[in-house]
Amino acid sequence: MIRLEARTAPSQLMGVLSPLLAFATTMLVAGAIFAALGKDPLQGLQVFVLEPFNGLRALSELGLKSTPLILCALGLALSYRSNVWNIGAEGQFLMGAIAGGGLALWVTTAELAIPKLAFFPLLVVAGALGGAAWASIVALLRDRFNANEILVSLMLVYIANLLLSWLVFGPWKDPNGFNFPQTVSFAANTEVPRLIPGMRLGWGLPVALLAALAMWLFMFRTYRGMQLQVGGPAPLAARYAGFSSRAAIWTTLLVSGGLAGVAGAFEVAGPMGQLTPHVSSGYGFTAIIVAFVGRLHPLGTILASLVLSTFLIGGELAQSRLGLPSALTGIFQGVLLLALLACDTLVQYRPRWSRSS
């Protein structure tokens, strides 16, 4: 029988190395899977892990895919550190998309000649308000009625989804779209400005990186950030110190909702250019994995977003280049998470084999 015994002094170094170790394990398993599928493991890994970085366009696509993940995961990292379990970033993302998309749609149909650079800040504000407003429902119910925020935030995802469907099937539907559920294509001046001409990566990425920097400063360099985080691991101590848990609920939910909302607005006014029922491919949920793989740290979030985006894009490339099944992406994500959990556990605990009595 295996028993886990807490290590008296868990290695700090290994704590930091654990994600890298998990990544290495994943690569080993991946190589074995490639071999089992009759492909050259090195070639497989090359396509899966390196090809997504190959060339300017590939990097642009990687950045584009990472942007919503970074934004959503940053807010979640703050929430989880503060013991507020917001798992509804997907819904907040959708509400940001509806708010940002609605604004773009209005500018489009009213044919407002607002310059691109002036529209961008408005878009950010609309997205943030949309997401924060949705998260504020969670905060209100938790604050007033002590409703479980896990349940409420998750349920609100489905409501946001239905609201989006209702809009694109009904009032916002393109009258010339053959009854298909989608809005008209947004006017060019509503588009998120691009970083490199001809590539899809836009200003969303710099905004996400700035947000990560701001989050780092807030978490580790402000009194308020420290207050929030004390409430996470030690709620009683926080109360004793006079730190308000109400403030923690409201701050974290509004911030994480707002960031997810901005991500949604960037997505619809960026690569999509219209609203359809399929705005998100699960960014809000993938961001939960990103937040944990990134150790709930703003910089870790950036790295973890890159890793998961690499897997997502690498999965497509493995299909078209090597004829491998699309399920590989899911498998690799799962292995990575499992390996990370295993590494973390083994850093904290020592396994002991003992004869069962």
């Binding site: 080993l28 190589g31 074995a32 490639f34 071999a35 050259d40 493991p41 090195l42 070639q43 366009r57 696509e61 584009l64 469907s165 099937f169 009904g170 539907k173 009258p175 053959f178 009854n179 298909f180 559920p181 294509s185 899809r200 997505e267 960026g270 690569p271 999509m272 250019g273 219209q274 359809t276 029922p277 399929h278 705005v279 491919s281 894009i313 497509e316 490339l317 299909q319 078209s320 280049r321 004829g323 099944p325 699309s326 084999w353 004869r355």
Partner: protein
């Protein structure tokens, strides 16, 4: 198992894995370059690269499965003239553009995007790759190097309706529908018209699920139709859920997209199948022969792109004869599914007497024919 043996096995496992890895990585070392032959044989042209993207997983049945069968058919027919690849489970939206662009960059000369939602991505990428040919299924936007193709699916639905009209005991048919677009409305109407051609008392109930593939919702919809008295179901969704629910409830139903007889041996009356293979061969040949031109292709029973297949053995011979007669009529052009008078369920004449519907009319169907219950949702 004690400590030591466990460790031993662990170590052994690790060793085997490592050995496997090194063995395989060695394989990669300089592939024996084909020794250049002194006098190269009359150069055989490099095979044309063709790529397909699917919205769903290929799986064992359904819409993307039917397209993949078509791809395999084309690959088999054209032999070493073509190399095909596919990418499955591509989300309709920003992801599609990246996949399509990458396929074009990879040297694919013809790219088939097999779902409506890929349309705008195809338009954007087609603009940047003028020497690549783009084919979009069920779409409507074309460009000099982008054309669209679709099946006259409603002809298959009409044939299914003939069987349904004869097999129903309650004179009530059920239809599980996805999105209220002209294509789906045509199928509902054609199913009903087919049934009415052999049984004027038939009416059809419709339930919308708002998805192409959502087995739990499709099952719910099938249940509610059955509870409402429907005893022969058809669906314009892509899973086998409706068929399987009919099997459980001892009712009848049809397969859709591909042969689904294996999923419900007792309930399965036939499958309205799509056969894209013929078109894929033609499209790839157009590129090989340099005769590719933009346009729209709509193929039906006549060209074999859709048909009612695997009609169940227990369906009476006279019913099968009626299906065969209708199929023959569709083939030789003496029968058209939508021939006036076509009256909608509010009593309005949508197609005047004696007029045969043209593609423009078919492309804008937004009503239920007489006999279908309810109102088309949210049409503006």
């Amino acid at each position: 198992m004690n400590h030591r043996t466990f460790l031993k096995q662990l170590a052994l496992g690790a060793l085997v894995a490592a050995a496997g890895l090194t063995a395989c990585s060695k394989k990669e070392a300089p592939p024996p370059a084909p020794t250049p032959v002194a006098a190269p044989a009359p150069a055989k042209p490099a095979p044309l690269k063709a790529a397909f993207i699917y919205v769903g997983p290929v799986g064992d049945a359904g819409y993307s499965f039917a397209h993949d069968e078509g791809r395999k058919f084309a690959a088999a027919q054209l032999g070493d003239k073509v190399v095909t690849t596919y990418v499955e489970k591509v989300a309709e939206g920003p992801d599609a553009e990246r996949v399509i662009r990458d396929l074009a960059t990879q040297g694919n000369k013809i790219i088939f995007a097999t779902s409506f939602g890929f349309g705008d991505s195809m338009v954007k990428v087609a603009k940047d790759f003028p020497d690549v040919y783009f084919e979009h299924a069920t779409g409507y936007k074309t460009a000099p190097n982008l054309r669209v193709y679709e099946a006259r699916f409603h002809e298959g639905a009409y044939l299914a309706g003939i069987v349904a009209g004869k097999m129903t005991r309650t004179n009530t048919l059920g239809f599980v529908a996805s999105f209220p677009i002209p294509e789906v409305l045509r199928n509902i109407d054609a199913y009903t018209l087919g049934a009415q051609s052999v049984n004027p008392k038939v009416k059809t109930k419709v339930v919308w699920v708002g998805a192409w593939f959502d087995p739990p919702k499709e099952t719910e919809a099938a249940k509610s139709l059955i509870n409402g008295g429907a005893d022969v179901l058809l669906q314009n969704t892509d899973s086998t859920a409706v068929l399987q629910e009919a099997e459980r409830s001892k009712k009848y139903a049809f397969g859709w997209d591909s042969d689904m007889s294996a999923f419900a041996p007792k309930a399965h009356l036939g499958s309205v199948a799509l056969n894209w293979g013929g078109y894929y061969v033609k499209a790839i040949n157009d590129v090989l022969d340099h005769t590719w031109k933009t346009g729209e292709t709509k193929w039906g029973v006549k060209e074999g792109m859709t048909d009612l297949v695997k009609v169940a053995d227990f369906v009476p011979a006279d019913v099968k004869a009626k299906v065969d007669a209708a199929r023959q009529g569709l083939k030789d052009g003496t029968l058209a599914v939508f021939t006036g008078p076509v009256v909608d369920n509010t009593g309005k004449v949508q197609l005047a007497k004696g007029v045969v519907a043209d593609d423009k009319w078919l492309g804008s169907v937004n009503f239920y024919v007489k006999g279908v219950e309810g109102k088309v949702p949210a049409g503006k």
